[in-house]
C-alpha cells in the first residue's frame, strides 16, 4: 500500500474570507447606525437659501435641532432651552476659541422657539451662531 507523503499539499493561510467577514461586519454596523440615528432624531425640513456657505470644521460644535413644533433635540435627546444654552456655555468655556452654536431649524419653526436660544447663547459669550440651510 502506498502511503501519502506529508508534504504533498503545502499549508497556506487564506485571508480572503477573513477580509470578507470584516468588511461585511463593517457595512452592517454602518447601516445599522444610520437607521438608528434616523429613528431617534426628528426630521426637519431645513430652510432654503442661496447665499449659504460651505461647512467648515470646528473644534467645538453644539448642534441643536428645533422641530416645527418647537421641540429641541441635542444629540437625539429632547432638551429644554435652559439645558441647550447650558450645554453651549459649557462647551464654550472649555474651548479657548469658543464654541460654534449650530441651529437646525425647520422651515415652519416659529422665531419664538429660536430667540431664547440666541439670547441665552449671547449672554454666555457665544459669538459664532450658524443656521443650517439647504441650497436653493
Amino acid at each position: 500500500m502506498k502511503l501519502p507523503t506529508a508534504h504533498r499539499t503545502p499549508l497556506e493561510m487564506n485571508l480572503t474570507p477573513l477580509i470578507d467577514v470584516v468588511f461585511l461586519l463593517n457595512i452592517f454596523f454602518l447601516v445599522a447606525a444610520y437607521y438608528i440615528r434616523h429613528e431617534q432624531v426628528d426630521p426637519v425640513q431645513l430652510p432654503l437659501a442661496q447665499e449659504g456657505v460651505e461647512d467648515v470644521e470646528s473644534s467645538a460644535r453644539v448642534v441643536v435641532t428645533v422641530t416645527a413644533n418647537g421641540i429641541l433635540t441635542l444629540g437625539s435627546n429632547v432638551v429644554s432651552v435652559d439645558e441647550a444654552v447650558q450645554r453651549v456655555a459649557e462647551v464654550h468655556a472649555e474651548h479657548p476659541d469658543g464654541a460654534e452654536f449650530r441651529l437646525r431649524c425647520d422651515q415652519l419653526t416659529e422665531y419664538s422657539a429660536v430667540e431664547p436660544l440666541l439670547l441665552g447663547a449671547v449672554e454666555h459669550g457665544v459669538t459664532k451662531v450658524r443656521f443650517s440651510v439647504l441650497p436653493k
Binding site: T16, L46, T127, K128, L134
Partner: protein, 155 residues
Amino acid sequence: MKIPSVSRRRAVFDQSVMTPLIDVVFQLLIFFMCASVGHIREWLMPFDFGAGTGIQSAMPVEKPLGDVWIRLSRRNDQTLVNIAGTDYPEWAAVAAVLQALGETAAEIPVILDIAPNVPMQDVIRVDDLCRRAKFESVSFAAGESPQSATDPAGQ
C-alpha cells in the same frame, strides 16, 4: 529538485494575490456607496455676534447713514415685510428694495425685528436677500422697539 517554471510561478502568484485584492476593492466600493447614501449636504448661514449681554450701550454710537430696520410680522398666514416704515407684501419687491439699498450703501447696518410667530424660512429668506445685496452687517433686534436692539450681532 525540480524548480517550477516561470509560467507556473506567475500562475500561482496571480491566483493567490489578485483574488483578495479584488475582494477588498469591491468591499471598499460598497462601503463608500453605503456611507454616501442619504447624506444631504448642508450649507450654513453664519452670524458672528458681538460678545456681550445684548444690552444697548448707554453712549449712542454715531451712525451717519442711520440704519435700516426690517420688521417681519405675520398676518393672515403670510409674512409681511416692513422696510423702513413701508410694507412690502411681495418677496420680489423686498428683494428689489434691498438690492437697491445695498448698491447705494451696503455699509448701512440692517436690523431684523422679527415677530414671534414668523417662520424661520422667512427669517432666513430675508437674511439671504440681505447677503445677496452685499450688506455688511445684519443684526437681530431683541425687542419690539428700536431702543431694545442688541448691540452688534451681525454677520
